[in-house]
Subunit: 230 residues, 2 copies
């Protein structure tokens, strides 16, 4: 089963699709990447994820799997002869799942709020919240990494992938809005971790350069404006 | 480690705490249940779940774990000599995690909307949405159960616990609001499944009777009204 073909439906700019590609890279799994146009979703996407109609989808053989963290766990449990993404100890696994849920349920929604914030004051308020919400993750990093490079120790693991997928956008936001979210005075450990994560061999070819992300976002906003004007 | 003491911080009426108790019952694990007063949270709760300050928390030995679905997976991975809660096949596990996430991210938020809905029309609208959002779960039930009693097959599993924990409240809502959510014409399989789940040996002593839940809710609303009047 592990030898069946692997396809990923996603977009290069999607942090959630990036989670899947990073996990596959950690496991040295070859895959075909199918770039989706989210304004004109493919039949394959609609058929593979009929409930949410969202990317990413992993198709392994003929079996589709959706939801990025579910996919990452599937990858970890399927290609077991490569480095583990989740820790082996059940309590450490629970800790990893707890923080990944924290990223998705508490931290990433604030990133959306930043996109919607109008005016400098509103933006500064969300920036403050985002920085504040990173503090528990900084503490978690100290505990989980045990003075090693990543949440996962010597290698990137589940929390690294869950949080790290957004780092390209963090840099793009700095370019576009001048907003610094990973602040060296508030979360110094995470600032260094972010640099290490983006330079990691399994990450650097997956996450787009911030300039490219800025370009993609500008194009998207221009398209939306044109559509609204019609 | 599996032999260390087990404590659960929760309330009897909480569906999320019920998930944990049902999982422990499936695994025949003895535990001490510590009833929390959520209007006056214990030091133990604040110390054990400093990030969310929420129930349930499982404390195994001296290690606390939070987030109900994280706890259920921890229980499954720690007490491995008892019936499995998640399926053994990685794809089936991914499917189980997908639907559990659907319950938490899509379906349960509609239950909160029902509580907030003012007036008959608004209530009917949310009722319709809740029934509609059960349809994919009915289809999932057909696929996962393979004509057996539960999503998990012959025994209750991960999706059963994720969705089933709310069934006491579904009955309580029918008594209080006259709103039927599990409709026999729309999701007949789930209606029968719900009866089987509530009668299951690992569930029946955990989920409170609907009349008791109504009583608890009325008391809660009266307290809130009194607090608002002051």
């Amino acid at each position: 089963m592990a030898e069946s073909t692997v396809k990923v439906l996603g977009t290069q700019a999607s942090p959630f699709a990036n989670r899947v590609l990073i996990a596959l890279s950690v496991k040295s799994v070859d895959y075909e990447f199918i770039q989706e146009d989210m304004s004109n979703k493919s039949e394959l996407l609609l058929k593979s994820n009929p409930v949410h109609k969202k990317i990413p989808v992993l198709i392994h053989g003929d079996k589709p799997i959706s939801e990025s963290l579910v996919i990452v766990q599937y990858i970890d449990e399927t290609w077991t002869n490569a480095p583990s993404i989740l820790p082996s100890d059940p309590h450490d696994r629970a800790v990893a799942r707890f923080w990944a849920a924290y990223v998705d349920d508490k931290w990433l929604p604030l990133m959306s709020d930043l996109g919607k914030a109008q005016g400098e004051e509103a933006k500064a308020e969300v920036q403050e919240k985002l920085q504040h919400a990173l503090v528990p993750l900084e503490e978690a990093f100290v505990k989980c990494s045990k003075e090693k490079a990543f949440f996962g120790g010597d290698n990137i693991g589940y929390i690294d992938i869950a949080l790290g997928c957004i780092l390209g956008w963090i840099k793009a936001i700095k370019i576009m809005l001048g907003v610094e979210i990973f602040d060296v005075t508030k979360t110094p450990g995470l600032v260094k971790w972010a640099d290490r994560f983006l330079a990691d061999k399994d990450v650097k070819d997956v996450i787009l350069e911030p300039e490219k992300l800025v370009e993609i976002l500008k194009l998207h906003l221009a398209k939306r404006e044109a559509a609204n004007a019609n």
